[in-house]
């Protein structure tokens, strides 16, 4: 008998449980987009190089194109559709909107998921590759523009909205209580 090519799984997405039968080859990204009509998460390269498909898995950033859907059972998936609280935008979303942290908008869901996690990772004291003092007792470094650039560099934006993305992440981080370098746009 041929081995089974699909399985019934239950995914927890944005706090809601979905039971579905998936082809074992189906990525989390395709399951979200093609099976559950959660198309906010975008496919930019399908090989983990652009960050457009970034979601949060148990609160941590992950590129959903490199996760098989069957491997995500039992974990909490948060997509861009689950970031806002009802009608109230998440501070990161509001900052992207206000400061024009995007142009075409295609990388935006991934950028926003990434930024939400960056602010939490920073608050939890995680260093980055540009952090000077990485000793645990040093605590979080100031969330400088350089820190934000480094931490957000897994999310490509071909339109080149990087400058306003840094400003948006800094503003949202400052609102969340981080010591962030908030620079206003030239306007």
């Amino acid at each position: 008998m041929a081995p089974p090519v699909s399985s019934a799984i239950t995914l927890t997405i944005n706090g809601e449980k979905h039971t579905l039968s998936v082809d074992h080859r189906t990525t989390l990204l395709d399951a979200l987009r093609e099976r559950l009509d959660l198309t906010g998460t975008k496919k930019g390269c399908d090989q983990g190089q652009c960050g457009a498909c970034t979601v949060l898995l148990d609160g941590r950033r992950a590129v959903s194109c490199l996760q098989l859907a069957v491997a995500v059972e039992g974990r909490e998936v948060t997509t861009v559709e689950g970031v806002a609280e009802g009608e109230r935008l998440h501070p990161v979303q509001q900052a992207f909107l206000d400061l024009d942290g995007y142009q075409c908008g295609y990388c935006t869901p991934g950028q926003i998921c990434s930024a939400v996690a960056v602010i939490e990772e920073h608050a939890a004291g995680w260093p980055s590759a540009v952090t000077d003092d990485v000793r645990p007792e040093a605590g979080p470094p100031p969330l400088s523009a350089e820190e934000i650039r480094e931490r957000m560099s897994g999310n490509l934006c071909r339109c080149g909205a990087y400058v306003s993305i840094v400003q948006a992440v800094a503003r949202a981080a400052a609102e969340a209580g981080a010591e962030a370098e908030v620079t206003e746009a030239v306007a």
């Binding site: 190089q49 909107l97 024009d100 295609y106 400058v163």
Partner: protein, 707 residues
């Protein structure tokens, strides 16, 4: 001079003030639906199969085993595909993209040429089947190596005045150099995607493109359909940059939807985008400048060679920028092409001007160095009164104002012009500048503006918002013309049923669409002012700017700009980091300062990427790319980009109803030259080949010739 940013300049005041994007909430919440996001019942998935040889013929294809695979519905190829008509010249004055004339013969003109489409019930099934399809080729020798040395198509684009050799001989200072730029790719974040279906006797295509009316027209011609039988929609577009017209994926989706009589979606993979969505050709440009000791040009020669495929003649018009920027008694420019067994290049953000300005503005910097004149002063001394080749007046030309304002804000006056003097640890520091220009044009468009009984208005135009902010800009233009607040105006775009309109391209979109919308909205306002109220069905006014655009007086119409960059060069690794950039532009009336600034800055970041990172490498043996993905082809990331600032001087176009010139492309022009000039200032080494890679910096530091 006004460095206006957020000043209202009309009684109505929406145009010229910062507005967040009208579709912004949809984009930050993930509810904006792009081409691959709309659900359809009975949707089937198509996966293209591309050739693995660079030149030859398809001998046979083993479709039987593939058709037996789970979920596979059909395999389309040159022996069973419907005939299509590609023998026409389209709206933009060029024949269709050769790789969009799908499956019409067995010839393979380049690696990555589409040879089959596999359609299946799911994308997983389609992908596996497409990868399992065995194609046998009769392979022929190929040539994909571009050296820029042997144009084989007679130049149809040459402009010559004056005796070049005589003026060079009479010059006190001569610069003679060759500059090269590599193959570059658009890579919008959203891959090309289309879903086609037949609905009520009409072909309905949900697409991601730069002009729905344009793509609909191309599909009607290719499939010999009545224009009214095709509808193309493209509401949100995840970037385009010149790559999103009628291409293989829409044609494949239409063929399959017709064969299967159900909706079919075809999405390109990132790797497929390297060979069937166009790219910027590599260029080799020779520049000769001859000047008097005071820097005034006597001779200017700019000859550019680019490659094209064997199935389409595409010219990257690099020398065009010299026809606008500087005059000389002897002024020779030409653009020539070499045919190779490679994919067909196309327009990519600032075609011609982006690579052309790298060569020209680097050469000007070399001339400034030889003459001992400040690079800005050199450009000011060579400001032409009239178009150097056309002899026409400029509509406006505020280049010198851009330089003055930029120099003031960048701190140019404190600059020591000598190279290689500033050191900070292992970093050498330098600054550079360059001029920018890009043509400003308008093309005929149609629009409809409707007044509804509830006091709101709807604008319908087949415009495309590819990230430019066009939807918001049109909202502001309509609001001012109607003399109402923008929140009473709803703008609907991205639907070919709205009638012919210019595409989002050539920095002409917002100008062309705004013209049509302003005309219709003003007439509607006048009609409503007569009284009588609005009936339940509303009042609609339509406009067509064809005649008005054709009646526009012949002038040199361009946006201008001054680019400034500061770089740090690591002497131990050869890494170049841009530390800051400033661009000051004279680019017509700025409709929405918030989104226009984003476009300028985005263009400048493309300049950083072009100067330091982007380079598609082709393997001579296979004829294909090495590392055809976003790891192998590096575009600037967040960590590569410093604080980039853009601003502008007041520069409304006197002949445009709204004063617009266009801002989409000028940001990249001159940016790479400003960075290369800054690298020279930092290190004393002139880099004439892009990108300025670490290995090139190190080789140059060790005295290797011809960096």
């Amino acid at each position: 001079m006004t460095t206006a940013t957020a000043k209202a300049t009309t009684a109505q005041g929406s145009v010229g003030t910062a507005h967040t994007r009208v579709e912004g909430r949809d984009k930050v919440t993930g509810t904006a639906r792009y081409a691959g996001d709309l659900p359809f019942t009975e949707l089937a998935y198509g996966w293209l199969v591309l050739s693995t040889v660079a030149r030859g013929r398809i001998r046979s294809m083993e479709t039987g085993p593939v058709l037996a695979m789970p979920g596979v519905l059909t395999v389309l190829h040159h022996q069973n595909a419907p005939r299509i008509d590609s023998d026409y010249i389209g709206r933009l004055g060029v024949p269709p993209d050769p790789s969009a004339a799908l499956f019409q013969h067995d010839r393979v003109p380049h690696l990555g040429w589409p040879v089959a489409l596999v359609v299946a019930e799911t994308s997983e099934q389609a992908r596996e089947a497409a990868e399992a399809l065995v194609v046998h080729y009769e392979e022929k020798p190929h040539d994909t190596a571009f050296d820029g040395e042997r144009p084989d198509v007679p130049s149809q684009d040459t402009e010559e005045k004056g005796d070049l050799e005589a003026e060079l001989a009479a010059s006190a200072v001569v610069v003679d150099a060759r500059y090269t730029t590599p193959e570059e790719h658009h890579h919008p974040m959203e891959p090309h995607a289309a879903t086609a279906r037949w609905e009520g006797g009409r072909l309905d295509v949900v697409d991601s493109d730069q002009g729905t009316a344009w793509v609909a027209e191309e599909l009607a011609k290719l499939f010999s359909l009545e224009p009214s039988a095709v509808r193309v929609r493209s509401e949100h577009v995840g970037g385009a940059f010149g790559s999103k017209g009628a291409r293989a994926h829409q044609v494949a989706a239409v063929m399959a939807a017709t064969a299967l009589q159900r909706p079919v979606r075809v999405v390109l993979t990132r790797r497929q985008m390297f060979s069937i969505t166009g790219y910027r050709s590599p260029t080799s440009q020779r520049i000769r400048l001859g000047a008097d000791a005071d820097g005034r040009l006597r001779a200017l020669e700019h000859r550019s060679v680019n490659l094209t495929s064997t199935v389409f003649e595409f010219v990257e018009p690099c020398a065009g920028v010299s026809r606008v920027m500087y005059d000389a008694a002897a002024h020779h420019t030409s653009n020539e092409v070499v045919r190779l067994d490679v994919p067909t290049p196309t327009w990519m953000r600032a075609p011609g001007e982006a690579p052309g300005s790298f060569a020209l503005e680097s050469a000007l910097d070399e001339l400034a160095e030889r003459c001992g004149i400040d690079p800005i002063e050199l450009r000011v001394r060579n400001e032409p009164e009239l178009g150097p080749v056309s002899g026409l007046p400029f509509s406006t030309r505020r280049l010198t104002d851009c330089f003055r304002e930029g120099a003031r804000r960048f701190g140019w006056a404190e600059r020591d012009p000598r190279p290689g003097l500033r050191r900070e640890g292992r970093w050498l520091l330098g600054t550079g500048t360059a001029a920018a220009s890009f043509p400003s044009g308008a093309a005929p468009s149609t629009a409809a503006v409707t007044a509804q009984a509830d006091g709101t208005f709807t604008v319908r135009i087949a415009a495309a918002d590819i990230g430019t902010g066009a939807r918001t800009a049109i909202t502001l233009v309509a609001a001012d013309a109607l003399e109402v607040a923008p929140d009473r105006v709803r703008v609907r775009i991205g639907d070919s049923d709205f009638g012919p309109a210019m595409i989002a391209g050539g920095s002409m979109g917002t100008r062309s669409w705004s013209w049509a919308v302003a005309v219709a909205a003003r007439e509607l306002r006048e009609r409503l002012a007569l009284g009588g109220g609005v009936p339940p069905e509303g009042v609609t006014v339509r406009s067509d700017t064809s005649e008005a655009v054709r009646a526009l007086a012949q002038k040199e119409r361009h946006s201008f700009g001054a680019q400034f960059a500061e770089v740090a060069v690591d002497v131990t690794t050869g890494e170049v980091r841009v530390r800051r950039m400033l661009g000051i532009f004279a680019a017509g009336r700025i409709v929405n300062p918030l989104t226009a600034r984003s476009q300028f800055i985005g263009g400048m970041i493309w300049g950083i990427s072009m100067a330091l990172h982007e380079e598609a490498v082709r393997d001579r043996a296979s004829g294909g790319h090495v590392g055809a993905d976003l790891a192998g082809y590096h575009v600037a990331t967040q960590a590569d980009v410093p604080l980039v600032e853009a601003d502008w001087v007041d520069d409304p176009d006197p002949d445009d109803p709204v004063g617009i010139k266009g801002v989409g492309e000028i940001g990249i022009v001159g940016a790479a030259a400003a960075i290369a000039n800054a690298v020279w200032h930092a290190t004393g080494v002139r880099h004439r080949s892009l990108p300025i890679r670490p290995d090139r910096v190190l080789a140059a530091a060790e005295g290797a010739p011809d960096a």
